[in-house]
């Protein structure tokens, strides 16, 4: 089993989310728990992981969460560990049980917290690897038809 560093913020404790949630309050290692990151088939509230081809210090510069994860405030838990074979950093996140993700409106439009976490992880990976988040073409419907 790999070892993993927990970098969960304490925003859940109710402090100002924007100011606190992005910081690494305490880095420590522990054995990966059963059902932890990398275990396939987790339910919607389970861990999701991406491998970022950069060192942990680049993925979490200054110990701060990358911006896409910061947006989710204290509603998620984040963990990192070195990826095997010099592949960079495994970056994991999951929703905190019972804490709604900011901006989601599942009761109205069916937003999926797991999907929001997945998207944030992918954006964090892209930012670390390419410096920006790739944007899709805008569709004609987005822009209105050309005259």
């Amino acid at each position: 089993m790999g070892r993993i560093a927990t970098v969960a913020g304490s925003a859940l404790a109710g402090a100002a989310v924007g100011a606190v949630s992005g910081r690494v309050l305490r880095g420590r290692t522990r054995r990966r728990p059963a059902g932890g990151p990398g275990v396939r088939g987790n339910p919607a509230g389970g861990w999701q992981v991406v491998t970022v081809d950069r060192a942990p210090g680049t993925v979490l510069p200054g110990g701060r969460w990358p911006e896409p994860l910061r947006r989710l405030g204290g509603a998620i838990q984040v963990e990192v560990r070195p990826a095997p074979g010099c592949r960079g950093t495994e970056l994991a996140a999951r929703p905190r049980p019972g804490v709604p993700l900011p901006g989601l409106a599942a009761h109205v439009v069916g937003d999926d917290p797991a999907r929001a976490v997945r998207a944030a992880l992918r954006q964090a990976k892209q930012l670390a690897e390419t410096g920006e988040v790739l944007r899709a073409d805008r569709t004609p419907m987005d822009r209105g038809r050309a005259g």
Binding site: R87, E129, T130, E132, L134, R143, A146
Partner: protein, 390 residues
Amino acid sequence: MRALCWTGVDQVAVRQVPDPELRNGHDAIVRVRQSATCGGDLPLLAGRTPYVSVGDVLGHEFLGDVVEVGPEVRRHRVGDRVVVSASVACGTCWYCQGGLPSCCDNGNPEPEVGEATYGHPVPGVFGRPRATGGFAGSHAEFVRVPYADVGAFGVPDTVSDDRALFASDAAPAGWMAADVGGVRPGDVVAVWGAGAVGQLTARAAGLLGADRVIVVDDQDDRLRMAERHSDAETIDPRHADVPAELRERTGGRGPDVCVEAVGPAWDGRIRSLAERFTGAAERPPAVREAVHACRKGGTVVVLGEFDGHVDAFPLGAVSAKGLSVRGARQHGQNYVPMLLERMARGELRTEHLATHRMPLEQGAHGYALFRDRRDGCVRTVLSPDLPAAP
């Protein structure tokens, strides 16, 4: 701008669509000089690919001029004549750094669809639906090129548009097949399909030292092209038992490397919505034949673009004969500079593949010729600058 859009099953039409715009710092906008049809477009055209939508702009094999660059673009300037790799790759992720740009982790802004279909996100490709990025295609006056420093390549002055065009997709696909197939001097290589990719696979195998290259196809004009331009032997399945012929020509061993460059069999039947979305499987006859023909311990390379599943794959032969089966979308970023150099030296000629040239407005006719292989069509090349017929 004008663009050739998918408008329904077996229907395309030129429509006015908004000009592309820079969406990222690494983007460039390219004014298209030439854009080729490709066999990979045909499942889209026929409505066999989920997620294709009315208004999607087709085309992924193209060449043109840079007219606008984002602030992060370093290798290109306005006015550069470039050929663009069909797949979108960031150049910085683990896959790109490892020489697998068509497996790029960051080349698709909408990776969820690929994850659901293939277990992992698949990279973006121009002129394809959302599952592969939803980037507008090149059958248009202009096209947005993400990660332009990685996917666009300056064309040497000595290489004509007509030749360089195929460095975008067909030539790197063919070279990749020979490369990942491990073609070595003395090998016998068999290629199923004498379209542009098949012919350029045969040519690549020859340039890598294959002793004999044998191309299988049932179109006379394509076989003659393969003989003339790729220095290949040919087999026409209408007049020969292909496996028996290959055994005979290889001393009973079978070819060392077998390349499938045909794609899914197309029976002309429009699949129902239920079939499209439940993955009703088609059969890959050329793949089956290649697996059976390949020598023990040899390599089979699958170039055809199969969506989802196929049926009746001869897994037993793979196991019993110790075959290696390789497949990939073309890793163009690895090969385009080298291919352009070979084009400049005259080692790689591709002009003959563009059997038909026409303006965008005749795109429907061009695709029909290409799809039905009528009038000796190997590839239709569309040029937005050509005047539409009155």
